[in-house]
């Protein structure tokens, strides 16, 4: 005789399960099928709850933009992550050569990694809470930078890939394919190193190449993600595991599923999963179309799941990242930070942040630390 558990207890158990398990358990019975539901972001069912609910609570939201002033300044504002109330703003002018080129690559353990991609190689680690700024040893022709936390060794790690013609034998560059032969990947460990260490990579070092110049990389749980294009039809997402120091790739959905290749795509993370927002230009009065996809299992093409479509909002320009409960930060046509709520299909301004130069907005979850990284972090 097997004990039967009442429905309210079953709900508690199911509400803890990951999406893959829930999708499988839809086949248990008709009542579970209806209880678990379909992934469409807006319905309040177990599946959407498991995808959209964050496991960790972040403390602050960092908003970076380029102020439309002369000379242009990069401003970082910090808002409470939970309420979006204004917390502080950095007074410091970041050390940059070209204002539009500076990007925040990642936020780990209270540290930010900055990459000036116009200069081709300047990488900094910055702690806004203590104002410590460290320039990492420079190199030229850097194309990808990522920043993550190694849980095993308890330290932050910067990884970069670059074109390194000093690799032998020297190759006469005839086309882009040759550039791949001379690329290296290197890591800089903040606690245990003073220099870049070259990684031994199986095969080619993946490059960072994708359908657009914005929102090309993302990070979650010790893994950095970015777009790569190996051949005309072979676009993938690369994952670099910061602890294991290995690269893996995952394919995108088939073109028949995804839509036209000419659409641009923003890469981001939704809780622990890679997500992408496909952006399609429609007409000026219709606004753009945004399709939100999430990859429920890395490496499994069929696990790409479309969650939501946003359309008929002429003001919305670009997706920036997810907030809580599936709300989406976006940039509008005036360079302002706005928040889209899928359950009400409304957009509201995040007033605590001024508008910036168009296409300069970035948002990141951030938890400050006052621990000095010169002591090792």
């Amino acid at each position: 005789m097997s004990t039967y558990l009442p429905k309210d207890v079953v709900l508690i158990i199911l509400s803890r399960l990951p999406p893959k398990s829930l999708l499988r358990f839809r086949s248990v019975s008709k009542s579970w099928l209806s209880l678990i539901g379909n992934p469409n972001y807006v319905s309040k069912n177990l599946l959407n709850h498991s995808i959209l609910t964050a496991a960790t609570a972040h403390q602050l939201l960092l908003v970076k933009l380029t102020a439309p002033s002369i000379p242009q300044r990069q401003i970082c504002s910090f808002l409470s992550y939970q309420t979006l109330a204004f917390a502080s703003q950095t007074p410091q002018n970041l050390p940059i050569r070209s204002p539009r080129g500076l990007s925040i690559v990642g936020s780990c353990n209270g540290l930010l990694c900055l990459f000036d991609y116009f200069s081709g190689g300047d990488i900094f680690v910055w702690n806004p809470a203590t104002s410590e700024l460290k320039a990492l040893p420079c190199a030229s022709n850097v194309d990808t930078v990522c920043f993550g936390f190694d849980h095993k060794r308890n330290e932050c790690v910067v990884m970069r890939t670059r074109y390194a013609p000093e690799r032998d034998p020297p190759v006469f560059i005839t086309n882009r394919g040759d550039l791949r032969l001379n690329r290296v990947a290197e890591v800089y460990r903040l606690r245990s190193g003073d220099s870049w260490r070259k990684l031994i990579v199986d095969g080619d070092v993946p490059d960072c190449n994708g359908p657009n110049s914005r929102s090309r990389w993302a990070y979650a749980n010790g893994v950095c993600y970015w777009w790569t294009l190996r051949g005309v039809e072979d676009e993938k997402i690369v994952a670099f595991d910061v602890s294991e120091e290995v690269f893996r790739t995952t394919p995108l959905p088939d073109a028949s599923v995804l839509g036209r290749r000419s659409d641009v795509r923003a890469l981001m993370v939704l809780n622990e999963w890679v997500a992408m927002v496909v952006v399609r230009n429609k007409s000026k009065w219709e606004g753009k179309l945004f399709d939100i996809w999430v990859l429920l299992e890395f490496g499994v093409k069929e696990s790409w799941t479309r969650l939501l479509r946003i359309e008929a909002f002429p003001g919305l320009e670009w997706p920036l990242g997810f907030w809580k409960n599936g709300e989406l930060f976006m940039e509008n046509g005036e360079g302002e930070l706005v928040l889209y709520d899928p359950s009400t299909q409304t957009v509201r301004n995040v007033d605590q942040v001024d508008h910036g130069v168009k296409e300069s907005l970035q948002v990141l979850a951030y938890t400050p630390t006052t621990v000095s990284f010169e002591g090792g972090l």
Partner: protein, 179 residues
């Protein structure tokens, strides 16, 4: 069965409460521990109920009650240890997680379900929460058939319906534990 070694009568001057399991076995428990069971707390919150009254817990077996009491006793001790000190809190949290893991480790599926029913009936929120989490961890990689057996559920799909539902997310059936 008399009180066993897991449930010694306390000889300190604190108040105790008597709980009676479904088979009539009586457990004498420190008041602080007994109040972890919200059902028991509500029982005594009623006016005029003296603390000498034996609380009848008709839906709880003595095996389950013994484990519940043991868990709550240690949970109360651990809570007393934590305070403002972050280090002490962290240590208490780790010990608590160890306690929870220990409770479920040796339990069969039937055993865990019995504990869940007891925690649900006795209204012990924290215990119910971690037991449900433990069940979730146990079943998350299991097959549909295993889950049906565990929750005692009938397959009410037609073969065609079931095949269609499975094929919609065929990838989710990869990497599943063998039954």
């Amino acid at each position: 069965m008399a009180n066993n070694g897991e449930n010694p009568s306390p000889d300190v001057g604190g108040k105790t409460v008597k709980l009676k399991a479904d088979d009539g076995e009586i457990f004498e428990v420190e008041e602080a521990v007994a109040m972890e069971l919200q059902t028991v707390k509500s029982f005594f919150d009623d006016d005029g109920v003296s603390y000498d009254t034996v609380v009848p817990l008709l839906n709880v077996s003595s095996t389950a009650l013994a484990k519940v009491i043991q868990y709550c006793r240690r949970a109360v001790e651990l809570r007393a240890k934590s305070g403002d000190d972050e280090g002490a809190n962290e240590k208490a949290r780790e010990e608590r997680e160890g306690l929870e893991a220990e409770l479920v480790r040796e339990e069969s599926d039937e055993g865990i379900k019995e504990l869940i029913l007891a925690a649900n009936y006795l209204n012990i929120k924290d215990m119910l929460s971690f037991l449900c989490r433990a069940v979730g961890d146990r079943i998350k990689n299991k097959s549909v058939e295993y889950v049906r057996r565990f929750f005692v559920l009938e397959n009410d799909f037609s073969p065609e319906e079931e095949e269609r539902t499975r094929n919609e997310v065929a990838w989710a059936f990869e990497g599943v534990d063998a039954d």
